[in-house]
Symmetry: C2
Subunit: 430 residues, 2 copies
């Protein structure tokens, strides 16, 4: 039986999961590929660190060249994270005709096109299923399963930390800070949660998805990003009363060959397939011109789910080696990038205001909307306890973004309005 040699860059949580699977599921792997896989070397930063598994201690190395320049190694699995070093290592591996599998979303979002081009030039494979949606095989579904369709819209709950936080805020009526602490103690949020809670992690994943779904070379700079730190309990409460759930989603939408790509807290109707995706789970909703609505749900992170994505990639890479089709499955964006102009962007909006509790206040507000030609779909007003104020929550019909920004300014200046507390985009049902 043919032997395939693998070098591992990194031995953290995901690396441990990969080793666990390759060790325990050797038979399954052999059945599927007709090959035996062997881990040859593992690059680490610290040989002495206490690890969950220690029977691989003799494979540890501090020297990347022992993997990247090692003629016996066929496939390099990059699970070290970070950007510049990983990028350089992958380039070296490809230059030396090694196939590469990576779980590195930060790297693929920023330097994906460059690395895929290098792999293609070398006739090598570069697979990265684990970089989006953990154990959900979403990249394959876009490139193979829905290959025949024209994707029009992707809405992704692609960050488990923020979905956990918003789910808990919604179901337990506790505030952001408290849930964040709880999430940190449970390991669902990192000590420095910035990249998650500010929406950056989700933005990176949306860039990767957009490349595959639309073949448009968007970059991180094209994504309008907003995080969840200003989502208040009251926003969640009024969303519920209006029949919506607030989720941090990435939306990438193409109309007339122009893309609009954004990440932010968004109201989804409670009947929307994504609305019941709770806690640390991820889901990617894909709307195709012909297929209509599809959704792919599963664990977005974690040692074993991520390792499943990597080892499934490994099975594909080994099959490609056997079939002589390495490098044939590289998918590079081939469409020109045209971003939707800000003045063409439209949508529905949710808004929550504090209003003076006096006769005619509501009519002044609705009058202003009417004047600005923005029609309202839903509105509720409730008294605010212990202040002479009322709380008003509004859902508009579809309106241009710049019109909405204009009314936001006008409302702030309106005498009966004490404050505009928040506003978010609203998604409808397709």
């Amino acid at each position: 039986m043919e032997k395939i040699s693998v070098g591992l860059l990194g031995f953290g949580t995901v690396g441990t999961g990969v080793i666990h699977l390759l060790t325990n599921e050797q038979n399954k792997f052999q059945q599927q590929t007709g090959s035996k896989v062997e881990i040859q070397k593992i690059l680490v930063k610290d040989r002495e660190k206490n690890r969950k598994i220690n029977e691989y201690d003799h494979l540890l190395t501090l020297d990347p060249s022992e993997i990247l320049e090692n003629p016996e190694i066929d496939i390099v699995i990059e699970v070290m994270g970070g950007i510049q070093e990983a990028r350089q290592y992958i380039h070296t591996a490809l230059k030396n005709k090694k196939h590469v599998i990576t779980a590195n979303k930060d790297l693929m979002a920023i330097h994906g096109s460059e690395l895929l081009q290098a792999a293609s030039d070398q006739g090598c494979d570069l697979y990265y299923e684990a970089s989006v949606g953990g154990g959900i095989p979403i990249l394959r579904s876009l490139t193979d399963g829905l290959a025949a369709d024209r994707i029009k819209k992707i809405i992704g709950i692609v960050n488990g930390t923020t979905n956990y936080i918003l789910s808990k805020m919604s179901h337990q009526s506790v505030n952001y800070e408290k849930v964040l602490q709880e999430a940190q103690s449970l390991g669902f949020a990192e000590a420095d949660p910035t990249s998650d809670v500010e929406g950056l992690d989700a933005a990176r994943k949306m860039v990767i998805l957009s490349h595959l779904a639309y073949s448009i070379p968007v970059t991180l700079e094209d994504v309008v990003v907003e995080g969840i730190t200003r989502v208040a309990e009251e926003d969640i409460l009024y969303s519920k009363k209006l029949g919506y759930t607030i989720k941090l989603v990435g939306i990438a939408e193409v109309e007339d060959d122009e893309i609009d790509i954004r990440v932010g807290p968004t109201l989804l109707p409670t009947g929307h397939p994504l609305a019941s995706v709770d806690n640390e789970y991820n889901a990617i909703y894909v709307y195709g011109q012909s297929v209509g609505e599809t959704m792919f749900y599963g664990p977005g992170a974690g040692e074993l789910p991520t390792a499943i994505a990597i080892v499934s990639d490994l099975i594909s890479v080994v099959k490609n080696i056997k079939h002589g089709t390495s490098g044939h499955h590289i998918f590079l964006p081939n469409q020109e990038k045209k971003c939707k102009l800000v003045e063409d962007i439209e949508g529905q909006y949710f808004m929550r205001l504090h209003v003076k509790d006096q006769p005619g206040a509501l009519s002044k507000i609705t009058g202003l909307f009417n004047e600005q030609e923005i029609s309202l779909q839903k509105i509720i007003q409730e008294p605010l306890l212990s202040e002479k104020l009322a709380e008003v929550a509004i859902i508009t019909h579809t309106t241009k973004q710049h019109q909405f920004e204009q009314i936001y300014q006008l409302l702030k200046d309106l005498e009966v309005v004490r404050d505009v507390k928040s506003y978010y985009r609203v998604e409808g049902m397709n």
Copy 2:
């Protein structure tokens, strides 16, 4: 540019969708495969029939050999349905080294292994993504995306007609007959709905899924099947009160290499990912040992969703031709079949009874459960109007199936029990 010639067997709804996509999306197809696809011949039963598209009238033929024996045709797409004729045509096509794509679940469930073996022997492709879950790329997800994992359980809402009927019964509180009529008039149910409402269609799809997920050659005879015709409004009502939704699901579960495969109305907790899959939509929930819970959601039928699955298969087949890897992706069951013994099958159960409204009745019932060592998780009793009866609904903890069948008999003979109206299996959260 290379030209790929396709012969179509059948020109019904799905055939029309395939032609529509191949005509309108020729550019996209060429970009992805580097080949131009041409429909060469279309086998029909009646040349004169009025069709939605008539610019292909010159390609119609009544003679299958014009496709199956035509040396110019590379790929045969079978969308005619039925079993024996389709089986024979596919065998002839494979014998003549033509690759085959089929949407025929009835055929693949019964003769799949034989046809896949024939394709493998000939070095031909045989793809059938459209046979389960319409536009949902579930077969690929099982064989590629989750390739590295050990699947433990699949729960599928794989029949749109029954899901539509149960959803409407649940949301609108109308009875089965009325919803069935409505579904028929809307085209969600066929004039003869037997194969759908009796669960046979779902059983066929579960056989196909089990082959791929477990590599076990189960047959239709191994599936315990029950349809939805005896589901009463009261069952749905009491399920809701107990926190559950009734769905017609197929369940295929493997434990210690033994498979248990069944189709029937089943109570799912309202928080279960499948519980909110409504109307004609399908979803397949897959529990993998390492990946945990995943779910794949989308349209289970329809002209264009099914055509997307077929044309995505076509893209794969054309790529395989180019790469010289035809026939390499055939997946044949390679595990021995061991079905779980009836005495080992266990689960939770729901039961609804009519009980005489007299003191001590409930205690006699719970006493009997206690005697039989079946513990109860939930119970509600409510008076029945206009009769001296009460309605009792019960959810048991996990119990052996034969123990449950025994208590069912004992309850029927109990003096205080007027009638056991219904019972169903209950799924928990994983």
